[in-house]
Every structure is written in structure tokens, then in C-alpha cells.
Symmetry: D2
Subunit: 348 residues, 4 copies
């Protein structure tokens, strides 16, 4: 490449923001030119996140004065609704947009409005936005102007089920069940009682059982992959760990699946995917095996009565957020997909 | 009562042992007369567990010299196989036995031998042993000589499903799925790499997916409660917390269940049960809400397609082990069931 | 006793509040008649703290309408400044006051105002208030109307040093150093970023090195115990555990101390104290050995050059706050000191 | 460089071993040619440490058959005593040795033998070995054949005190006190009850107060830096976090120090040191700010009576072990010091 990519980050004070900085600060083809925060304008990024001392010398800038249209790409690590308010101007200026919030994940704006309590303000841009799972939509990502970077739970469930759905190996008369578990960083860097150390440590709970925003997102993608309707039950849980996501998925296999080597199906589907690792059958992945890295690991466990349990682990802040966003950026700018993402998991 | 119960504990150096001591040391009707440990004979209990300083003044005694037949009841907090080797002599001497291991949980000795790799040495005593969940078998426990104290996972799954099974409210053509999560103390106080702090902290995993010893135990009880065969899928997970067990159970309701107020069914079934707490519908129990106490909490979440999710929490060392054992002892000796178990959960 | 004590709690929604409830709910001589919270008036206590379901049936009441003067004693588990605004009316009505905040800890109002940024509004009541460490001031507590319940750090440092200071065994030309460590619950149940699980877990830090409010409190008591001025260095640290406080104290012994058996000095000083446990010399107390209990444990470690290291552990929410408050109440109402406090530590 | 360095690792199954692999697997100038383990010979490294799947394709080899003398450098991540048994043959073959255990840290073999209960078998090689803190001994490291890679605690204490000692700014009549705190990974990947999750979580303790092997190591270096004798008190604590080390150091400053800007002294001393970060005065470093990285951060806090508190944080497995070892290797092989160590801390 001739020149570095000029990157802007809107909303760099949350966990996806600092995670983008950790990855992009050492990305050889990236020049971070602006990072904005309304509340922290003027504060040195490294004063808020001392882990970046010596590596990120920028200060947060006021969104009003940041020259984002001068960037090649802007990441939105913001609450829902911010990206869609700024995307039209950026797209018009030829700046690509990668939104880590939900503004460009759901093609059905009515569903978006129901779950996010916001009217969608740029349905036309949404229509051309691409749902950013490289392993599913790599070709579209290449030429996309706007990426809806997937939610953390959806990434695990979709990559966990894709090989089966693509080949019609699930009996869709029986609901697909995803019992999912997330580390607490998934709740974000917001001051809230429920995620205090003294509340969330040495304990666990389910939440959002009656309805979680990732349900419609997963559902929309599952039906698309299946090419038909289906039923999907989703129960997320909060686990006392900082990072890490573990999805335990239960499906009833179709008759067709009885004649298939499922392990081989997964192996072949992901053979060329650097960040998706299919464990040998019966494998027991730990979330720490991907701590800090962009990898996602999958293991298959056949059960009685033609059921299959699929175990999926990822780091919710990397493959489930910032890492996948960088992977999308690499694809959009024709950089090798793993550049800037060669970070080995921290174990122990 | 006229006199205190003379209690012996065999194998007091593990977590169920120290938990028995925590509860029994303040039990007004109990006199702990012996606590044995082959490896630690002569060591003061309070030197090994300083939490008991001033409350337990006994030393561990050599099993060979402990006068266990002089006890009214002996708890076995030992590896599998120990209780059955000593139960015949104790029963002959009129001493009651409460085994916290698996020797008296499975009536089918072939199943026992398959899963525990031990021949069962006293099938006759086993035949008269009672599976010690008071909420299911209180009357039998009253007159039992030998109690097989249930496993931790089984207690959550069985109490979570009993109201449905007793009334035929589950469609047994569809497998019952229990996605269960346990704190690390469930693995016991054994020196093992996998449960080191630096291995098990800030991470999680599934284990025993291909087969866990609690599967046959749960299965045997479920079929008995259902009065028919059924399919049961069980996936346990290890969670980075000391105590606490969370079972997320998925069932397909029967047609009959459509005309029933499930919340009321649970409420009525457990109305007189001091230690089983049915939360209002949609409740989200946290494991810390029972930390250190003998309570078990249940919440119901209806799902799409006639499915129901049941959430169950308990402290694996209390209602899942030592607390339930004391509850059984109280019943056997005609003491009010809550005596010695009035310990409020530690929150935060 | 003839009748139960009528107890009011002001501010029951924080950690010291719920801890008071845990202890008082089972106290045989207590009747909790009111618990107030401006923000949560009308909410059932057990809905906020499900650990209390079935044991505390009260709802939070509006402070404006709670009949606190009808109580025998009122505990203030509130921010600093609340107790002193209400104490005059309560004292006038004959209601005793136990303040778990700092309003009645510092006799010097100028020091109070410097550190707490509040003018002191009832210096006369303060003058008769007693600093509530039973092991130091039991006789005064008996007849006190108002108790300033000590801070958590001060309890450890003062009980750790009392035997030495009372007998002139410290060389006061050399600063006393207290390197103290606290679990995160010490920061309270306030929504703040710094104490989120994802911030405070798997990490540690010092804080308040330039000045912590417990420094003047400890300093005032130390000089009183020593009967002379001295220098005191205090560095608190935040540790990723829910409960627990560990103070490592470094002193230079006086010449007189060379002829004294320090272990015996501590043993004799606390021989009659049920909640202060002196370990054998060289003991290594763990904070979990007092988790959930009102005990405080001390161990002595002689060092080179005539220095001594004193290790002190307590549960910051019990002996460091609510438990000590109940202990004070028992003394004020002539109840045996341990009643309601016979709770064994939770280990593991 | 023309060719890659051929690296061998002896004892790759512990935490320093896997940490070496994490760093070396992506080091552009390193070719890992052998990794040995007596117990795990034949096992794929990535089967034991799934975090390395796809990055380390070696199997553990039997030490008896590994061609270590064919390596350019061999790291010993072994128990004490192993490196000194193999160093003579390696040195004779021209292979450099970096020992992460203690065999080459203490020049006084009598002290070594007292603390490690082993006779020292190669005093001549020890005499030429260099204590591997680059910031102190870079020039000697360049030409060394054998490096005694420092202990984790010593690295923090020595780098925390070097600027003061080099310039005579400490009053050595008063003991230097280091109150040090370590994450549990410091205890290694050994099956032991004391470091089980259920033992070490949600609790803390001091240990080794009566004598810790790092005391003589620190003491020897301190006296050398000071050029005179001194007194050193060291109290290590075990903290419930995986990685991270925090040393709180208390010194009495010399009169000379009163006329000196200490902050500037530290700033200048470490101005050229990429991995030592001096925070602005009053800074409050968190251990997570260096999680996974080779950085060490220092902050100064002046106290009353001419005392100074120095706060030092590092990751015990990186700058405290494997990272420093790689830094030493880079120096020995004339590679830029940061190569392979550009890993940003994982926060959160």
C-alpha cells in the first residue's frame, strides 16, 4: 500500500473504543487522526487509559470540530443512534463507516424501532449497508460503504450455526436454543449498580430472558441463512469474568444430517478462515483460549435423540466487537485480513 | 428434645466437610463427637480451617480409632465408595448414615458400577436407602436408616421440574435440556491444575458434555417422577465463582399445560417448603441471593412455541450438599427442619 | 429482657444497610420497625435484596413519615452529614443513635470540616458521643446516647496497635506505617465507573495516598492511645475481592519492648474479647477466615532491626461496619455482646 | 539480521513457559526449534495450551533427545536446579543460556544453598553470569553467555529504588520496607490446594513473612546499588488476580534528597527506557495497565517526616519473567530491545 489509512473513531471512551485503540495503535497501515468524545474533549487518551501510554498520543476532540470527513474510515463506538445521524454526511464525502452499535444491523426498520426505541433516520443508507461478518459476507464487505458490525452474541450464534444452516442440516420444526454467557465487559463502561464488582463478582444470573435486542438480530440472520422461518430461543447470562463469551447451542438435526460427517462439514466450511477454529470433535473450549484475540472456536457434541450441542467461544470485545471491526476495515481497504490482528490470546 | 444428637463426620477435610462443620457447630441439638481424616489425624480442625477457631475444638481422629458406632448419625463427606464400606456396621449398631457421596443415590447397581467404576458392596442396604430430597421424599426420610444425599446438579434440576412432572405438564417427546453452571467449589478441595485460580478465573468452559455422573442420577429420578421414559440432555459448565449453581432448564410443555397457571402450580407445590422459594413470574435469580444459605430459588419464563425456561439457583455446598444433609438429619431426628439452617445469604 | 428493642434504620439501600438487615433480621431481641430510603420509598426491601426474602417483610418508608423517635435506637447507614442533622431530635426523644458514617467519629470539628467539607451542626452532641470500638471503650458505650461507629480501616489499625500503645512498646520517633488493603464493597453501592467489575476485577491499585479520610480518624485515636504525638503513614489499596480488609502494619519497637513477650501481651489484652482473635506467632490470617463474621484476627511477625509487622484481617462490612454497630447496640441495651453475631465465616 | 535465532525452551509446561511461547511465536527473528518436557513428551504444545493453536505447531520433546546444543539460545523455564545441571554443556557448545529460575541470580553460593536447599554445581559459570535487568546491566548482558533472569518481586523493588540508590538519596539507617502484592500466577502452574480458585479467590493473605527467597536476591542487589549495607524488610501478599504485581515501597529519604527534584531524577534515569514508565507525581498505577505487556510503571508519593512511598506495577509473567527474558535475548543478539515485545496491555 502506498499510504496509510486515515482513521477516525467516534466515541472512544467505552470498552469497544479502547479496544479499537489497542488494535489500531499497532496496525501498520493505520494512522489514527481523530478520536472524539463530547464529555472528554481535551483529555489525553492515555490519561484515561494508561495502558496506551506511549502508544496513543492523541487527545479526545470535540465531535463538533473533528474533521471526520477527512478520514478514509470512521468507526462508531457510540450508543445506538449516533452513527445513523452522521453517516449520510460521511458517505457523501466518500468516507467509509463501520458502526459498532446497532444502527446498521437490522434491515427491517420497524424491528429496529421496536427494539431500540428510535426511528431510523437513513433507511436508504441502511439498505446498502452490509452486516459485517466476514466469514459470511466477505464479498459484499469489500465494496461496502457502511458496515453494521454485528453484536457479540450474534457473532457466536451465527458462526456456530452457519455450516448447518447452509446445508439444511437442522430440523427447523424444533426451536434452536442458544444458552449464552457473557463476561461483564459486554455491559459497557457505564456507571451502573448492577455491574459493580461487589454486585457481579462471585455470582451469576440470566437477564433479558423476556427479550434481548440481539434476538431479532440473530433471528433475521438465521432465517436468511436457513432460507425459511424458524423458532429461536435465546437466554443470555452474565458471568463474573471481564471478557469472554460462551454460547451453548442446542439443535435438532435433520434427517439429512444423519448421513453427513458434521465435523467435516464444519472443518471444510471454515478451512480458509484464519479466525474461526474448529476444534476436534468433543473439544471443550475455554473462553480464556481466545482472551484478547480475534479468534472464535467451535466444538461439536452429538447428543441423544438426534440433537447436537455446539459450543462457541470468543472474546466479546475482539471478534465480538472491535477485532471484527478491524477485520472488516482490512477487507474494505484490501489489506490482508489478519493485519493488526495478530495478537495471541493471554493465557493465563 | 431431651438429649443432643451425637454426630460423627467421616472425611472432614473437603468442602462439604467444612460446610457441615460450619452448620453443625451452631446447631443447638448437635454434639459433634468425632471427625475423622486418615491423612490429618491429630491436626486440630481449626488449624486447617481457621474460620472455625473458637467454635470447633476437635482434632481430626484416625478412622480406625473413632467410635463411630457410638454416634446417633454419621455423615460421610468422603470420596465415593467409603460410605458403603462402613454402612453395614453402622446400620447394625443402630447408627444412621447420611452419605454425601454417591453410594446410595442410584438404586440400579449396574448403573452405579458403570459410572463410578466400583462394584456396589451392600445392595441390600441400598435398597432401603432413601434419596434425600426432603421436598420429594420427606416421609421416607423420617424413618430411613441410610440417606443418599443428592448431587448438587440433581437437586436444582429435580426441584426445578417436579411440579411439572408430577402433573404431566411436559411434552416428553421432546428432550428436556438442562444447561447447568457451577461454581468451582463443586470440584472439591483437591489439588488439581484445572481448578487453580490462574486456570479457572476470568474464564469459563463446559465439561462432561459427553457424560457426567449426575446424568444417570437425574435421569433415574426424572423417569420416576414422570412415571415414564423420557430424554434428558445435560451440559454442565464451570463458572469463575466459589459457590453457586445456576440451572437453566428448557422444556416443551404438554397440551394440558396450556390450560394451567404454571406460576400457581409452582407456588402451591412449594407453599409449605421453607427452603424452596418461587419467584414472581419473570424473576431473575442471582446465585449470590442464596450464597451460604440452604435456599433454592426458582423462576419461570414462558417462551415461544410452547416452551418454558426454568431458572434455578442454589448454593452448591449448602442446599446442594451439606445444608440438605443437615435438613435430612433434622427430619430423621424429628427436629424442626430449619434448625441450624437459619443462616441468611451473604450479599454482597 | 422483657421486650424487644424497636430498631430504625435510616438509609437501608447501601451495603452497610443490607448488612445490618442480615444481622438484625435474626437478632432475637430486635424488632425492625422502620427502614427509610428517600429514593426507594414503597419498595419492598426483599425486592431490592432477594437474599432477605422471607426474613424481612418491610418496605422502605419515606424518611419524612417514618416514626423514628418512636424507636429505641436508630442506625444511620447514610452518607456523611445525615446523622448529625437528625441526631438532636432523636436524642431529645430518648432514642439512641448509632451512626455508621463519620459524623460522630472525630471530636475535632475543624478536622471534620476539613476532610468532609461539611460544617458540623451539633458539636454538643458530638462531645458526648462515644467512638464505638467496644474493645477500647466498652464502659462509655454502655451509657452513650450517640455512637460514632468507626471506619473500617481504623478498626483494623487501632485493634492491631492497641496492646503496644497502651504499654508504650512502640518507638514513636519512627512513623507507624499501615499498608492497608480493602475489598471493593468498601467503596459502597454507588454507580461509579472505577468500581465496575470490568474495571476493578483482576487488577489492583493504591488510592488516597495523598490523603484519605480515615487518616485523621486513626491519627486522633492513635495519639490518644499513645498519650503523645506520633507520625502515621497510611496507604490504602483496592483489592479485587468483595469483602475483606487486610492491614499490614510496620512499627519500630521501643527498647522496653525488647524485654517483653509481645505475643503474651496481645493474648492477655484480648483474652476476654470474643471477636478479637490473636493467632499463634507467625500466623498468616486470610481475609476469608472472617468472611461474613464479626471476628478480627491478628498475627505478629518480628522483623530485623527491632521492627514488628502486625497483620490484621476483618470483614469490612461486619467488624468494620454493621457487625460492630450491632455489637455496640448490644452493649448499650445490656444484651450479651455476641447475640445476633454468632455467624460463622463462610469458607470457602 | 541474516538468519533467525534458533531457540530452545526447557520446561515449557508452566506459566513462564507458555508466556515465552506467546511472545516468541510472533517474534520475527526467532525460530523455536525445541521445547522440552519430560512429562509431556509427544504432546502437541497447542493441545495443552489451545491459545497457541495455529501459531505453535511443535510437540514437547523428551529432554534426553532434544538437540539443545544446536540452539543459539536456550531458555530454562524449569524448577530451580535444572539450568545449572545443563549450563556447562550448553556454554561449552557456544549456546547462550537464559535461566528464568534462580540458579544464576545469587553470586553468593552459600546464600543460594541456604535458600534453595541445593548445592550450586557450577560456581565458575555463575561467576560470569549476569543478573538480567537490562535497565541496570545492559552492557554486561550484551556479552553474557548466561543470564540469571530476575525474580518477579526483585524486578519491581530494584527498578523502583535504583534512581534513589544510585544517587544516595535514601537514609540507610532506616530499613527499606517493601510491601508487595502478587497475582496468583506467580505461584506457578502446580497442583496445590492453596492456590485453587475456591481457596485463593475473594480473599487475600500475606505469606513468606518469616523469609522469602526473593529477600536475599533483592538484598544482594540493593547493597550493590547502594554500595553499602542496609536493612530490608519484605512482606509479600497473595492477591486474587491472575497476573499483576504491585509493590508499595517505603523509604526514609536522606538529607541530600531534600534538595533534589525526585520526580526529575526518576524521569531522567529512565528517559531512554522503553519499558519503564514514570508516571506524573501522585500517579496511581493499576496492575491492569500493564496486563500482558512488558511495561513497568512507577509513581512517587512524598510522605510526612521525609518518607517517600514508591508504587511499582508490572505483569509478573512478562516484565517479571518471560518478557524480561526476551528483552535480554534481544540484547544478547543485538536485536532492537522491543522486538517481539510490542504487545499492548489488555484493558479491560
Amino acid at each position: 500500500m502506498a499510504e496509510k489509512i486515515k482513521v477516525g473513531i467516534v466515541g472512544g471512551t467505552g470498552y469497544t473504543g479502547v479496544e479499537l485503540l489497542r488494535l489500531l495503535a499497532l496496525h501498520p497501515w493505520v494512522d489514527i487522526t481523530a478520536i472524539t468524545s463530547r464529555g472528554e474533549a481535551g483529555v489525553l487518551v492515555a490519561d484515561m487509559f494508561p495502558s496506551l501510554r506511549g502508544y496513543v498520543n492523541l487527545a479526545f476532540s470535540d465531535p463538533a470540530h473533528a474533521n471526520l470527513t477527512g478520514c478514509d474510515v470512521v468507526f462508531f463506538a457510540t450508543p445506538h443512534g449516533v452513527a445513523m445521524s452522521q453517516a449520510p454526511a460521511l458517505v457523501a464525502a466518500g468516507t467509509k463507516v463501520i458502526d459498532l452499535a446497532a444502527d446498521f444491523r437490522l434491515q427491517d426498520t420497524a424491528v429496529f424501532e421496536k427494539w431500540y426505541k428510535l426511528p431510523h433516520s437513513c433507511a436508504d443508507i441502511l439498505r446498502n449497508a452490509v452486516y459485517g461478518i466476514p466469514e459470511l459476507y466477505r464479498d459484499k464487505i469489500k465494496s461496502a460503504n457502511v458496515i453494521g458490525n454485528p453484536g457479540c452474541y450474534p457473532t457466536t450464534v451465527l458462526l456456530g450455526l452457519t455450516p448447518l444452516l447452509e446445508q439444511g442440516l437442522i430440523d427447523l420444526n424444533v426451536p434452536i436454543i442458544a444458552d449464552a454467557k457473557s463476561g461483564v465487559s459486554g455491559a459497557g463502561r457505564k456507571a451502573e449498580v448492577a455491574t459493580l464488582f461487589a454486585e457481579a463478582s462471585d455470582s451469576m444470573k440470566a437477564y433479558g430472558v423476556a427479550g434481548h435486542r440481539h434476538h431479532p438480530e440473530i433471528y433475521a440472520q438465521l432465517t436468511q441463512l436457513a432460507g425459511s422461518d424458524l423458532a429461536f430461543i435465546f437466554v443470555p447470562h452474565l458471568i463474573p469474568m471481564i471478557r469472554g463469551m460462551f454460547s451453548t447451542i442446542y439443535v435438532k438435526l435433520s434427517d439429512k444430517a444423519q448421513q453427513v460427517n458434521l465435523q467435516a462439514v464444519y472443518g471444510q466450511r471454515y478451512a480458509q478462515e484464519r479466525f474461526v477454529d474448529v476444534l476436534p470433535q468433543g473439544g471443550l473450549p475455554e473462553t480464556r483460549s481466545v482472551r484478547g484475540s480475534n479468534h472464535l472456536r467451535i466444538a461439536l457434541h452429538p447428543q441423544l435423540n438426534g440433537y447436537l450441542t455446539i459450543l462457541v467461544v470468543q472474546d466479546n470485545l475482539v471478534k465480538g466487537a472491535a477485532g471484527q471491526a478491524v477485520q472488516n476495515m482490512n477487507i474494505m481497504f484490501d489489506i490482508e485480513e489478519h493485519v493488526g490482528l495478530e495478537v495471541l490470546p493471554l493465557l493465563p
